[in-house]
């Protein structure tokens, strides 16, 4: 894409969209949002960037291979799911810290589970998109 406007805009869009996706992720438990949508938004942010600057540039920004986000996310989600097992509760029971945290609100195993979903979605989407873009 050679358009200057698009290039300039997407340079600013990337951080904004990423921040927004995290916001969506965190508010998910109380208001519309969640890990899945958040993950999709973050992937869109990177994809728009790669559209404007090319794949190489975006990969430089991400630094790591997005594929690695998948196992990290899986470990987080599975960890959050089986964590209750260690306090003698059935797995996937919600565990919560006492009292809300600043900015984030209540933190519990569900949040970590959602973060896991978020990472897996980013990893999977970007792996699919990048490998398709790379090959075509």
């Amino acid at each position: 894409m050679k358009s200057l406007i698009f290039k300039t805009a997407s340079a600013y869009l990337l951080p904004l969209l990423l921040l927004f996706s995290i916001f969506i992720l965190l508010r998910g438990h109380y208001l519309p949002g969640g890990g899945f949508v958040g993950g999709l938004m973050a992937s869109i942010a990177f994809l728009v960037h790669s559209f404007a600057f090319g794949l190489k540039e975006t990969q430089n920004i991400i630094k790591i291979n997005p594929g690695f986000l998948m196992p990290i996310g899986l470990v987080l989600a599975v960890g959050a799911a089986i964590a209750p097992f260690f306090v003698d509760a059935p797995i996937l029971t919600g565990l919560w810290f006492e009292g809300p945290f600043r900015f984030i609100g209540m933190v519990g195993s569900a949040l970590f589970f959602d973060i896991g979903v978020y990472l897996v979605v980013i990893g999977a989407t970007l792996t699919i998109m990048f490998s398709i873009t790379d090959t075509v």
């Binding site: 998910g28 438990h29 969640g34 589970f113 959602d114 999977a124 490998s131």
Partner: protein, 769 residues
Amino acid sequence: MLIAVILGFIFALCVPFFTRFFKKTIPFVYSLLPLSLFIYFFQFLGKIKNQGHILFKYEWVPSIGIDLSFRLDGLSLLFALMITGIGALVFIYTIYYLKGHEYLDRFYGYLSMFMASMLGVVLSDNLMTMFIFWELTSISSYFLIGFNNEDPASRKSALTALSITGLGGLVMLSGIILLQAVGGSYSFTELLNSSEAIKDSSAYGWIISLLFVGAFTKSAQFPFHFWLPGAMKAPTPVSTYLHSATMVKAGIYLLARFTPLLGDTFWWNGTLVTVGAITMVYAAIHSVLRVDLKSILAYSTISALGILVFLIGIGTEKALLAAGIFILAHALYKAALFLITGIIDHETGSRDVTKLAGLQRVMMPVAIAGFLASLSSAGVPFLLGFISKEVMYEATLQFGDWAIILTALAVLTKILLLVAGFWAGIRPFTGNLPSEFEKAKLPSSLLWVPPLLLGILSLGFGAFPSLIGQSLIQPVFSSMSGTDTVVQLKLWHGFNLVLLLSIFTLVTGGVLFWFLKPSAELFQKTLRFELISPQNIIKGGSKMFGSFAGTWTRFFQNGYLRNYVITILAFLTLLMAYRLFWGVNIYIDWNQISPVSHYEIIVVALMIISILFAISTNSRTTSIVALGVIGFANCLFFLFYSAPDLAMTQFSIDSLTVLLFMLVLVKLPKNKSFSSNIMKFRDAMLSLLFGTLIAILTLVVFEEPSTTEVSKYFAENAYVLAKGRNVVNVILVDYRGFDTMVEIVVLVIAAVGVYSLMKLDLNPSKKEL
């Protein structure tokens, strides 16, 4: 007991870890395994004789009635002793036979695995457990037959054997499940009590036919026999162990085991006698038409298995006794013959019976073993084969109206088997040594002691039948027949018809052996009948199936994405139309419909315009963008009707889709050719039909009550139980967290799949560039 059964698996599991350091010692260490197990089972002889049977119970899956319970009675003890005893000899024999082979350690792993599975089959009381071990024997035999994995023929035989026996096993599984449904238990011991009820039930016919398929495939009965000669591609120790002494007898074991439970009915006896008789005669004729030592032995083994099925089918007390003795006699002499063949092959490099002669001059002990084994197989007095043959003739002679025919068949089979046995055990050891084999010499004693030992046992048990009569054969007989009749094994039965038949068999067989020379031409002449052999018919069937599948696949999977879409949509349309044809229940309450607002009209207008754009434009970019607009307009509807979560997700997905399309399609060249008008019309009709059906379907969905118990529960308890106000998200991460977890795993799998498909280069010519 549990440890005794699974020890082989543990040993097999250890091979990969030990092989690096102890490669050389593995054969010696592993040979101790069957030996010690043999001693372990030997101790039970006295106990079984007094108690009848012993049960060992270990819980496994109690909720569906599967446990690891083992039943040790006469029959299973006989098999266990054969498995471990002959196993020990084969393990020792292999040390030298495959000395220096690259994968010797693996071979011992497979062998231990096989031995453990086989022990599991014969000892399991629970039929489900037995089935598992049964299939494990098929799998481990697959590895063993295909041991020379660089030889395509060997791989093919292994696959044939696995598919025939594996398929039979699956059929047997359905029989077992049916048996459980009727009898109410998987436990054989418990089923025994409801024997009459099972025989009277309407499913009885199905149960026995399904079990028969399992037994016949495993024991190589006609018409499933052809995998066994193919399996002779395996190294000789494997042929000895699996394909003559133990595995192929698993089917016999099954039939013998089920005789007290299911036997003694017209269909049971009739089927077994017929199949057994056909197999034993058919295979006996084949065995004297071969020239390869192993082929001769393979067919004579099939014939012997036929005899066993035949005897179990006759089902009288005498016949079952004969079967019991013959199982042991056959295992002893046939294993010996196989081992001798292995030695001959190992030392001379030839298995051609027309060339081999005079080897007694260089390997006397082997010759003695060969003579003993073939005399036992012929049924010469003072050898175990004689006793089994006597009892067998007695059994057939007592079989009412059919006695004459059955006896004649048995005598014919025995005569032919005598010739085959003499060819394998005596012919190579008579006459003058041809010059080409002059280099042959007596091999290490590890090789010749096992067959000699087996031969001596044949002689010992035959000359002094009281050695095994009360201690072993009596319990075997009791567990097969379910009665307490005392058996008497005698060498001298008096001068009667049976003895005359025996003498007739020996004389005719001897004369035939003298005059009939094995020749390759005779075998060639039979080849023209190969066309109608079961092997060819089944092979042809599978070939036709393969080509049919190929045509079918090429027709549907033709590589054009558009055709795929058309096929899928057309099929779905037909399916739904068929369902809707039988009546559909649509009810629209016009009063309940919310008023149409002006912004909804605008959005719908937007959608219609984009649709028109999408189908009329010639540019890809335009149609993609138009499709994107339709998607976004859809999202607006979600928003209007308060589904923000759905709208948000749909927005993201739509953006991603459009972006992806742009990324890929932008790089394609400009459209050059377009669909013809007919194709356009076809596509339009299909789309219209599909769309209409989906619309109807959506209306049908409304018929279902929209608020259910579940959604109410979710809504009410989201905050109370899961501390979240967004019900959708709470469902995702909490209520149905397990679903989500599996879904993200699927997502990862999909990503990895796409990645590998995209990066995989299947076109080697490109790689070189």
